[in-house]
């Protein structure tokens, strides 16, 4: 695995670091290997009829790694610390969004998160600004994990290797920067002593080195494997038995920025491009037929998604008719477009080449490719400075809200496309607020169908989660987001 970027749950920026956090820290809720939210430090919770007040009943006799018993005040402390400017968390405010009093804590005006009330040692009440049915999903994020206040008080209120104290199934035993993290089993873990005594995570930057380590039995698990690696091993019977391939809560797309390039304001243009893309060819050539064709922006494994929207297929004739109807017959008069993608990803580069080929040969549209480094790419996305790009979205929690509302509601910070449809907004706002699962599913289904009819993005593929696990490592669990902590794992 790569070097964790941070040891502080409040400042975790990526999923690899998030997986490390889960060994030692926990939140009130978590996901299980069936992609369902289940209780974690909260045993149960009640939601008020208006969806604004959550009352969490916390587990009793849960201990931190230093032996102290966990209490409701630890939750309030942890969230206030995460939001405090001193912690310098970029995303804590996102994943505690809606709690009354949050803005004052983030602005440094008050340390007190007034919307969180400690009723007693095992009861916590949270007041939201409005109904947010996905709130328990957000609580699975590392920014919401519970830390040990007396430990962080010794390290300037930030979690370091000397204050890496949580309630999780493993405690950090040793961290050699650039080399390895070592965890030892927490024998007092509330969910049962882990089946393995020790976990070691070597820091390995090079994917080939990580793969060789797996083949030589120096590591038992190798996760986040690229599709090309899996495709190479397709005929290897021994390795195939050790591959775990499952759905990932992510989708890849071709995005349009209609304010940067006004030609994309025309829905016929967007649909023409969608129909002119040979998406099966992209999946076959760039992703070695390991990915599956995207049926929309909601991948499999995301609950409450509603019905799959109407599908479109590769249809050059129809694409050409639509482009002509938009005023650009044969691509005549169509401006040259720059297609941007992230550097250092040969699969995406291959996909970009196919997109360029498809648009030129099928529609007569000239496309220039532009590869950018990751940081530069994300900043340009944020600034809405890309005309057309190959992007992807990986969910933080398994809820359609994290796809539909987060990405496509008008004027949302992460709506890189400047997509705006008041009907879509209304459907999503309503679905986000109500707690009835059946109604939410229906509303999200309608919103999804409307989105696909408007086509602000062309969904291309759903990539799977691919992990290699040695057959003697039992009980290894994953969900569509990440590898789950190994507390149920054993080794023969």
């Amino acid at each position: 695995m790569f070097e964790p970027t941070s040891l502080d749950p409040a400042t975790v920026p990526d999923v690899i670091t998030e997986e490390v956090m889960q060994y030692s820290f926990e939140g009130l809720t978590r996901f299980n290997d069936k992609n369902q939210i289940e209780p974690c430090l909260a045993e149960s919770w009640d939601i008020s009829p208006d969806g604004k007040v959550y009352t969490f009943h916390l587990r009793k006799n849960v201990k931190f790694h230093n032996g102290r018993v966990f209490a409701a005040s630890d939750v309030k402390y942890s969230w206030e610390r995460a939001l405090n400017p001193h912690t310098a968390s970029a995303q804590a405010a996102n994943y505690l969004d809606g709690i009354v009093g949050l803005k004052d804590v983030v602005a440094g005006k008050s340390p007190d998160l007034t919307g969180v009330t400690v009723v007693d040692d095992n009861t916590l009440k949270v007041q939201l600004d409005r109904g947010r049915a996905y709130f328990t999903g957000m609580l699975t994020m590392p920014q919401d994990y519970v830390v040990c206040k007396e430990a962080v008080a010794k390290t300037d209120y930030k979690v370091t290797k000397d204050s890496f104290v949580g309630t999780g199934p493993f405690r950090l035993d040793e961290y050699k920067t650039g080399q390895q993290l070592s965890f030892a089993a927490n024998s007092d873990y509330w969910d049962g002593k882990p089946g393995i005594d020790r976990i070691e995570m070597p820091v390995i930057l090079d994917p080939q080195t990580a793969y060789d380590n797996f083949k030589t039995n120096q590591v038992d698990i190798y996760s986040h494997i690229q599709t090309t690696r899996y495709a190479i091993d397709r005929d290897n019977k021994t390795l195939q038995a050790e591959y775990h391939v499952g759905p990932e809560a992510a989708f890849s797309y071709l995005g349009f920025q209609e304010n940067k390039q006004p030609v994309f304001k025309n829905a016929d243009v967007r649909h023409a491009i969608a129909l002119a893309l040979d998406r099966p060819e992209i999946i076959r050539v760039a992703f070695k037929s390991v990915s599956t064709l995207a049926t929309g922006v909601l991948p499999p494994g995301v609950p409450l998604s509603g019905p799959v929207p109407e599908q479109f297929s590769f249809d050059v004739k129809k694409a050409q008719e639509l482009l002509a109807k938009a005023g650009y017959p044969g691509g005549k008069g169509f401006p040259s477009i720059t297609l941007t993608y992230r550097q250092k990803n040969p699969e995406v580069e291959s996909a970009a080449i196919i997109v360029r080929k498809n648009l030129k040969s099928n529609l007569g549209i000239d496309v220039t490719l532009s590869a950018r480094e990751a940081g530069e790419f994300y900043t340009a996305e944020n600034k809405h400075a890309l005309e057309m790009w190959l992007g992807g979205w990986v969910a933080d929690y398994l809820d359609p809200q994290d796809f539909l509302s987060t990405l496509f509601i008008s004027h949302n910070d992460l709506n890189f496309f400047d997509y705006s449809n008041p009907t879509f907004d209304k459907l999503c706002h309503e679905a986000d607020a109500i707690t009835d699962p059946a109604k939410r599913s229906t509303l999200y289904g309608q919103a999804h169908a409307l989105l696909m009819a408007d086509m602000p993005v062309v969904p291309i593929h759903f990539a799977p989660r691919i992990t290699l696990v040695h057959t003697d490592a039992k009980g290894w669990r994953e969900c569509a987001l990440y590898v789950l902590p190994a507390n149920k794992a054993t080794k023969d």
Partner: protein, 290 residues
Amino acid sequence: MFIVAHLAPSSPVDIIAGEKATLEEKARLAHQYGLDRPLYIQYGSYVWNIVAHGDFGRSFSRSQQPVTEMIRSDFPVTAQLALQAIIFAMVIGLPIGVFAALYHNSWFDRMAMAGVVAMVSVPSIVLGPLLVLFFAVHNRWLPVSGWDSPKYTILPTIALGARTAAIMARFMRSSLLDVLKQDYMRTAIAKGLSRSRAVWKHALKNASLPVLTVIGNSFGALLTGSFVVETIFQVPGIGYVSIDSITKRDYAVIQGMALLVALLFTLVNLSVDILYGVIDPRVRSQEARA
């Protein structure tokens, strides 16, 4: 280096904030870390912290680890790898060069030079994975990566030192051939000195001067880290940290490593100059006369 690092597009905030952070969140973080201050103020603050407190700043991408701590923990690893590689290169390369010169145009000379050309042509990015494939994956004689015990250091040492060994062999051979052709060598043998004594007592010493320059330059280059070898074998040295810090725009680490590299090259070149004077008294007396 400070200005060059800051001129590159994007900033460390892009890494620590994560891809889902909004512009507002990134601006807030940039402000908290002082990255939105004018460049001359950031530079002044950086220099002042070094001079007044010996503080080279903290890494954004490695859990705020102080740069001085990174150098203290990572540089000895690179130094050990570089030392092992240079010793390997000398033990293998110098004898090959000597015997190739002594048995000039023999089958040994021809085979040695063919091997040298091959080794010089194979970069460590190719040699490293080949070594891993043969010694670790297929034959399980050595581990794939890591730096836990001496056996972990064998493959990275060979991968890093092989090319330098080949270069040393070539330099030693051509330098010794030049010396062997000199009049004083013929005179010494004509006056009754045995060939082997003439070579070991006189020729080698004179032939070693140019080779010393190669050793010094090679050691400097090896010391400053080999990104490829350290990444392939996951050696926790300054090589991969330096390159990793560039891709992540980790300014403090970039600047700290640049300063370290400059200091190391200066020290190595100075050491080579001093050694020249030790080996060749003429250099000392020329300098004294000057």
